[in-house]
Symmetry: C2
Subunit: 473 residues, 2 copies
């Protein structure tokens, strides 16, 4: 559905200035034109930051009337270029940065109602303030915004027990492509009144409407957490440890992160100040967390499980965090790896998922395929419990990723082809954005793409919402 | 979007007989024309029962070519008339009864792949056979089919901990309205490749496509369950007991069912063979279940919580099931209430949800509104933890519901108007079907209805899928 859009030119800006307060108009800055991995350079646009849903609706109405494209902009932390438009008519860059109000928080109903621009860490802190947990947790939580988290259906480390952004959202307020406002801010756990529009908007990456607010699920805070860092014999062994934990601790297992030694090496190389566990790290490590109840016997059981894992040779070493400081230190190691990766500079980063049972085969065959392509470094880590691994390829030490840009496609396809042979996905949690449009065509299904195009056409006939993102032309 | 459809007449049947095996053609029977509450009398149709997805696709293709409507038919247990079409051109009634194969079950990946016609109880049994739990559980599980459970996003008693049908489904195989097959049978916990079509099809009640198979989430079986039947002082007290349990047992609370004494009276009246707890039942009772780990200290804690509830006057009596037989007996009471209701015959049954904090107000004000309308009996019971209550209105003892059919609308609107004032829903888990189309117009939002119509038009332009259901004309 190729659409021709008009530029957000001086005349259009004049129209908007008559209808919106000065404060909505922001100076253009590199912040709105760059993305973390530097693969995309967004063009300049008319940057607008509404302070309210009404102002946002006014902007969308005017864009719809004038046929001007809108690029929604949240924390700017997305990794697939969904927030930057490189080509096409000069767009409106609609930043949610001023919509940062927590409208309500109710520990009886266990809901928190936040505007799209609220930073994830602030939502977690607000929930904590009333003795509740908002479990969405990712490396970028200090800067990403909940609107973006929902638009991309963000995942992170708490998915195993609490689900991804989609599972944590009860309702949405959305400015639709015609500028009308859909108030779907329900607070209900169950509501079967017609089509599930909430989940259609979640993960649509701003291409079907602009999320301006969301009602979110809160949970009672676990009063006791057990966190262990293990050296495991292999990915198979890691899966066995997870199975042991899940069979004997039921739904209490809240996180299970696989980490390759390469991640430790990158941390040493780029951030020596980060304290690492284990004098001699093994090749594979596992970070496991249990949300338990105090005096619940989970401690005893967890220690028994770890002991059993050592006896069976699944693990060589296991450290249990003795206090919150140590627990935080373990998590800092895990959550700093993405920044270390960024500093090293990946040639290509695969955000993949496969059924858990295929993970060992993926890791084994993947290494062979990459080795056949050259002398590269692989950093494979991620959410073992969800079958979601980040499989990133780096140049040899001392070389720069740009020297290998001609190899990106062969590296990418080698791994994705394998992933699809194993029944997996080439975007587990980062989305499609603009980076993976070709991959969606290559690996997606004709029937699915046809449905996506029909839905985009039906809900955004002028194609003004995040043009060029998610839906292949 | 009023569409004109053609009848499944003799000529059309002849075309189909050339393309499908004899075994697909089923004799018409009342089974396909009735629904449990007897509010709808479906017209006769051409009943077809494909044995495979390919046969189902052939049927849909021919219906699309001929412009013949299709009414998907599962277990026939739906309560909103989604499975019976009263008027319009003679449809194809497409029964999934022969697609009852469990294609795969994998306790490593914790998935079960079932065809749409598999009865829910058979799925639960198959999971149990490999030491796993499929937690979807409802009164009709012995006859409802998983395809229907997904088409209607069924809820039930396990939602509090495990979510509804939507939350338990990883992927779908769907015959689309043009007869093409979308194989979305993923087994992945995380997959962000484009729009969430799975959740759009789930809950669409067959109006956007025909679900032919699904991959379902399995869970490790809790090795220890604690079940208690309480007499509680009031709905407020019931909410306080739930909060106590959730704050001190975290995510272990797996069910919390509120039951009014009226339900016990109906059971005594219609099924005296059912053994009821409590010599003198109070006005309100609560059935609470904890999925715990053995030796996990949960027993001690649960008993302490119940003790505390009694001391605080929240509960007058509390029985803890001492064994599986007793546990089953408690659940039989809860799960037989709907059959007792059916035998008494409701004038109107409200399937409603509100934010938990509004439940006491709903029950209090609701009783006043109904009393003002006449001398009726109210049976209010359901899933307290989800804010989902079944609020059913019955004639005085000895009278028949049909004498009051002229009162149905005033009764219905009195409660629904209240529910919407409290931020609730008029269909928490039963869906819209044909029964609640008017209510969706009255209580739904214009923006939402517009989106639904556009999506229906985009994906089913000929309007052949379950004509007249879910989407108001």
């Amino acid at each position: 559905m190729p659409v021709s859009l008009n530029p957000a030119d001086a005349a259009f800006e004049t129209v908007l200035r008559q209808r919106l307060p000065k404060t909505c108009f922001r100076p253009q800055s590199p912040h709105y034109q760059t993305e973390p991995r530097g693969f995309f350079q967004g063009q300049a646009g008319l940057v607008l930051a509404p302070a309210s849903t009404a102002e946002a609706a006014e902007i969308v109405q005017q864009c719809a009337a004038a046929g001007v494209g809108i690029v929604p902009f949240g924390g700017g932390t997305g990794l697939v270029g969904g927030q930057v438009m490189e080509t096409g008519a000069r767009p409106v860059i609609l930043s949610l940065e001023r919509m940062k109000r927590i409208r309500d928080i109710n520990p009886v109903d266990n809901i928190l109602l936040a505007e799209a621009g609220v930073v994830l860490a602030d939502i977690r802190a607000a929930a904590d303030g009333v003795g509740r947990l908002f479990p969405l947790s990712l490396a970028s939580e200090g800067s990403c915004q909940i609107g973006g988290n929902l638009a991309t259906n963000a995942g992170g480390v708490g998915v195993l027990r609490y689900g991804n952004a989609r599972d944590l959202c009860l309702g949405l307020e959305v400015v639709l492509p015609d500028g009308s406002i859909w108030n779907g801010l329900g607070r209900l756990r169950k509501d079967n009144t017609g089509y599930d529009l909430k989940n259609l908007l979640i993960g649509a990456e701003g291409s079907l409407g602009l999320i301006t607010a969301a009602s979110l699920k809160l949970f009672h805070r676990p009063d006791h957490q057990l966190t262990a860092f293990l050296q495991v014999a292999s990915p198979e062994a890691a899966l066995s440890v997870l199975a042991l934990c899940q069979s004997r601790l039921g739904g209490m297992v809240s996180a299970c992160e696989l980490i390759h030694r390469q991640g430790f090496d990158f941390l040493r190389e780029t951030m020596p100040q980060i304290r690492l566990p284990f004098a001699k790290p093994g090749e594979w490590m596992l970070l496991v967390e249990i949300d338990a109840i105090a005096d619940g016997g989970a401690d005893t059981r967890f220690e028994a499980i770890l002991g059993q894992a050592m006896e069976q040779g699944l693990a060589q070493d296991a450290l249990i965090a003795q206090n919150q400081v140590q627990r935080q230190a373990y998590w800092t190691v895990r959550e700093t790896i993405p920044e270390a990766n960024r500093r090293i500079g990946a040639i290509y980063s695969h955000d993949i998922s496969v059924p858990n049972s295929r993970i060992p085969e993926l890791i084994d065959k993947g290494a062979g395929l990459i080795a056949a392509l050259g002398d590269f470094r692989i950093n494979c880590f991620g959410h073992l419990g969800d079958g979601n691994l980040h499989y990133n390829i780096y140049p040899p030490r001392g070389r720069n990723r740009d020297e290998f840009s001609d190899r990106r496609d062969s590296i990418k396809h080698a791994i994705y082809d394998l992933v699809y042979r194993l029944g997996g996905s080439m975007s587990a949690e980062h989305g499609i954005g603009r980076l993976k449009l070709d991959d969606l065509v290559r690996y997606g299904q004709a029937e699915k793409l046809a449905m996506m195009r029909r839905i985009k056409q039906a809900l955004d006939p002028k194609g003004i919402m995040n043009p060029g993102a998610v839906v292949p032309p």
